[in-house]
Amino acid sequence: MTTMRLNDEERDILAGKLGAVAKQALQHQIMVGEFFGAKDFVPVTQAHIMADTESLGEAGVQWLEGLATATQGRTGVRVPTITDPRGTDFSKAAFLGQTSSMLDLERRAIDAFVKLGVVMTDTCINYQTIQAPIRNEHVAFGDTGVVIYSNSVCGAYSNFEGGPSALSAGLTGRTPRYGFHLPEQRRATIQFRVEWTPETLNDWGALGGVIGRLAGNYWAVPAIVGIKEPPRSDQLKHFGAAMASFGSVALFHIVGTTPEANRLADIAPAGLPSHRVGRADVDALQKSYRQDGKVDVVVFSAPQLSLYELRDLAALCDSRRFTVPLLAVTSPQVKPDADRLGYTTRIENAGGTVLSGMCFYQSYAREIADAKGWKRLATNSAKLVNILGGYGYQPMLGSMEACVDAAVSGRTK
């Protein structure tokens, strides 16, 4: 019995006619759908699963293995289903101080996903590297940065789908129709007049953090006016990822830039609560983190770096020599190009390390801190500084240039 309206196929799935895996997936989706008052399901075309083993633990991996051992009925995903970063880059695990038990858990999770037909893309920038969704496309994406970019910049329709729900959507080819699958939920609820347009990625991230904190929850939809130039994809990547991280926000509109907001009136009712945000707010957020002193490690990650970010980083690394570790984390799709174009060599010649298919905070960051003695961390990712406070780090947020300087001198100014 459910309060959701099911079609014939969904009733068959629930009755077990398509096997135990699809049934379990649909039961999970119904629990979530009923909780949010979904009236029915909506078909999805793609799913993206966040499932690093630090989050899954032994219990989560066993749950996956249970699904993967089924042999009756439909046993795999039915729409393209891909993965967010893994918990390691196997080739760099020793350098990160990761243990064999962490790696064993990773291998078991990967085996289970492959049996379920999941494609191991291991990326949180699939909208830059795999296949960006198009406007009005309903998808089931995990990773808050992927969802907010897909909703806002691409005009696709997705909720935050945690790993179990994204996998369920891949297995059933649908998701409960609630939240940002509903056009009325996508209207702005709060307005921001931005009086200063950032340039650097850390400033864009900090601006996203300021707006995320003020917006404050998942159901808030910021309408942003005053952005001077059309932002680039990497700038919106950091902007959205930070907004989602600081505020749990899943959708924003930049008037004149993002596809649903040609004009403010398209997405915002009159009389919305309004805030002004300027350079002082962006600077204040950055200064709220540690400002100066010794640095143990420099990390570029969260989101994974695009080819352009790696190109810019490589240029800053020429003729430099790092005295503390510098990590640059990218996707398995970008890494071969960075190798081929010489960016990896230039970063590593300066003493840095380019990692692939993981993300720093999804890779046992607390255990890495203990194993490596890394506490004072410099980064240009506002999302990363927001997360790592809870992992025992003392993070610092600065420009890519300032972070590279810190890797050379071992200090921030």
């Binding site: 989560g60 790993g163 179990p164």
Partner: protein, 137 residues
């Protein structure tokens, strides 16, 4: 003072439980805010920093970022280190999906600020089928 008072939630899942409330006007993210091994809040700026949430009915404002929480509640429960139930003013899908996987009771959406209405340490009965919280003492 609040004994016998009943609060009604617009969103509910899970089974009935009784327990002690741990209340804060602050957010919740399993990944960002917790030391999940020790079962305590670990983010320095969190209002419950240093306090244990294990076996408590956690009454907080809203769910904050982090898709990982969808897995983490299940993992925490498997080690007996999870809250007994969750009560939110406003919840995001991740925590609801996580509660569904972990089979943890969750209520959200009230006519008042539930973090102000329920005193820290109150004994509560959570009834998801009826969508209610009763203050027992």
């Amino acid at each position: 003072m609040s004994k016998g008072k009943v609060f009604h939630a617009r969103h509910a899942m899970g089974s009935m439980v009784r327990g002690t409330a741990l209340v804060a006007t602050d957010g919740f993210s399993a990944r960002y805010d917790l030391d999940r091994i020790k079962g305590t809040f670990s983010r320095p700026t969190h209002k419950l920093v240093g306090q244990s949430y294990v076996g408590r009915i956690l009454v907080v404002e809203t769910a904050k970022g982090g898709v990982a929480s969808a897995w983490m509640l299940h993992e925490m429960k498997s080690r007996g280190m999870a809250p007994l139930a969750f009560v939110f003013n406003s919840v995001n899908p991740i925590l609801a999906q996580g509660a569904a996987l972990a089979h943890l009771p969750m209520l959200a959406g009230f006519d008042e600020d539930i973090t102000k209405a329920i005193p820290n340490g109150a004994e509560l009965e959570i009834n998801p089928q009826a969508g209610t919280i009763e203050v027992l003492r």
